[in-house]
């Protein structure tokens, strides 16, 4: 018993919080990477997450391609689509007011979601948990479904990998430098336009990766993106726009906060993230990890 709550219920909600947090972290990480370099608030991020899940679903339906391959192919497909969108459309908006980028990606999200809703309806399509991850493990103090454990581990690894890519590699140093001063980096002989395309592609790919991970848990639905994206924007605001580590840490923190609120005061669990956002905005307008704004 913890504060009068059975340990089982507490740990159960903690796990759900950790899983939701994994998705928040993966999605807000992609948003932060895109915003940092492109200065575009990518409203299509939820739709790209949904696309990831749908590509996995379609690959299985029509080509019999399993979960493991889809985990690679879906992010690659959505990443390439993202790169194409950046190259042909988004790129034309960089010199205009940032509002145009926001409106464009919002319109893109509506178009993608509308199209899938038209074809598949609003109901979710089931996606089976891969065989190797079926069942669960008794940890002694609680029962852990294997797939959920896998989601937590692999999303943490993906976050860590992205962070290492940005902080520790040559490509990452180009990315960080171009975030500060793109013109100077370009004058050094770095092809910054390609870097922008690559970054948008990687951000979209991360969203699609989260989408494939989510497919066996939440079902594959055209609305799955718009359900999660509002919370993810709150995560990004709390963490601080453009802060990579901030986006990751805040994603997990808020996921857990949401889960624990379900234990202690279930009525507030849907709004707790927005309450935290309001408080953070009042006390630290630049976000928990943002630089003074």
């Amino acid at each position: 018993m913890i504060f009068g709550i059975p340990l089982q219920a507490f740990l159960g909600q903690l796990l759900i919080g950790l899983i939701n947090g994994s998705f928040y972290a993966l999605l807000s990480l992609g948003l932060a990477v895109i915003f940092g370099l492109l200065r575009v608030i990518n409203f299509a991020h939820g739709a790209q997450y949904m696309l990831g899940a749908f590509v996995a679903y379609l690959l299985l339906q029509y080509f019999g391609i399993n979960y493991w391959l889809a985990l690679v192919l879906a992010p690659l497909t959505v990443g390439l689509l993202g790169a194409l969108v950046e190259r042909t459309m988004l790129r034309r908006l960089y010199d205009l007011d940032p509002l145009y980028g926001l409106l464009f990606t919002f319109g893109l999200a509506l178009t993608i979601e509308g199209t899938f809703r038209y074809i598949y309806g609003a109901a979710g399509q089931p996606y089976a948990v891969p065989k190797a991850l079926m069942g669960g493990t008794n940890l002694g103090f609680m029962f852990l479904p294997n797939y959920r454990g896998w989601v937590v581990v692999v999303s943490l690894a993906a976050c860590l990998g992205t962070w290492l890519l940005i902080e520790k590699t040559k490509l990452g140093s180009y990315l960080r430098a171009a975030t500060e001063n793109p013109v100077l980096v370009q004058s050094f002989g770095v092809n910054v336009p390609v870097l922008l395309t690559l970054t948008y592609g990687i951000g979209c790919g991360l969203a699609a990766f989260a989408g494939v991970l989510a497919a066996p848990i939440y079902q594959v639905s055209p609305l799955m993106g718009s359900n999660v994206i509002i919370v993810v924007f709150a995560v990004v605001v709390v963490g601080g726009m453009g802060s990579i580590l901030g986006a990751i840490a805040t994603g997990y923190m808020l996921g857990i906060a949401e889960g624990l609120t379900k234990v202690f005061y279930p009525e507030a669990s849907n709004i707790v993230i927005f309450v935290i956002m309001a408080i953070v905005l009042l006390l630290r307008p630049a976000g928990l990890f943002g630089r003074d704004g």
Binding site: S173, Y174, A177, E180, L184, V185, Q186, F188, V192
Partner: protein, 233 residues
């Protein structure tokens, strides 16, 4: 002396504002040239336009026998021109060493890393600190050092001594002399007249967006009265 850079009839605009009005200049291989002029006559703009950062431009820029007008900004460095901006452009989210290693090597003959650290021992000591934690003088050294590594033939250097202590200014002068010995061509914008007279081979005087005079360092004493009047010093 073979000209490395030849600029003719160069015009440039910042939006509606016409800043360069037909700049003509020639920089020979291995020369060290200083552009003099009052604030706002277009010295920095000249460097930014040659580099290709400012794209609203007309006229001709020939570098190393090739037309540079159609070359995109990210290819300019690969043709052999490096630019050190007035604000130095040290990245705060990169360490000193990451800043140093950032610009891609564009040709052989750049300064090797150990030689750079020998020339700038402060940078070696602080290689793991964030770039902007360096002093102003060290940041200027870093901004120059990172371009030297790339093997460019010509350096465009915008007011390297601005806001720096005399002892640092002297150090930068020594570095520039060393570069000259290595055969580097340098186009320098400089307000510090005394500093420029110690290192430059030749001067251009700029007024209202064009070059109005061009003379070697030997003629400097005869022109002092005129320069003092024009530059208002």
């Amino acid at each position: 002396m073979t000209p490395l850079l030849r600029v003719s009839g160069l015009n440039a605009w910042y939006g509606e504002s016409h800043v360069l009005h037909g700049v003509d200049m020639v920089v020979g291989q291995g020369e060290m040239i200083t552009i003099l002029g009052r604030n706002g006559v277009g010295k920095t703009t000249t460097l930014r336009t040659i580099m290709g950062i400012l794209r609203a431009r007309k006229g001709q820029i020939m570098f190393d026998g090739a037309d540079m007008m159609a070359v995109p900004l990210h290819k300019t460095a690969h043709r052999g021109i490096g630019f050190v901006p007035e604000e130095r452009g040290i990245f705060s989210t990169l360490t000193v060493e990451e800043n140093l290693m950032l610009p891609p090597v564009v040709a052989k003959g750049g300064m090797p890393l150990d030689e750079i650290y020998e020339l700038f021992p402060n940078l070696a000591e602080r290689r793991a600190s964030p770039g902007t934690k360096l002093s102003g003088g060290e940041q200027q050294m870093l901004a120059m050092a990172r371009i030297l590594r790339t093997g460019v033939k010509m350096l465009l250097l915008d007011e390297p001594t601005e806001g720096l202590a005399p002892v640092i200014v002297q150090r930068i002068g020594e570095v520039l002399k060393k570069l000259k010995e290595r055969g580097m061509t340098v186009l320098l914008v400089e307000q510090n007249f005394r500093f420029a007279s110690r290192i430059a081979d030749r001067f251009y005087l700029m007024e209202h967006g064009r070059m109005v005079a061009d003379f070697p360092v030997a003629e400097l004493p005869d022109r002092m009265t005129m320069l003092n009047k024009v530059l208002g010093v």
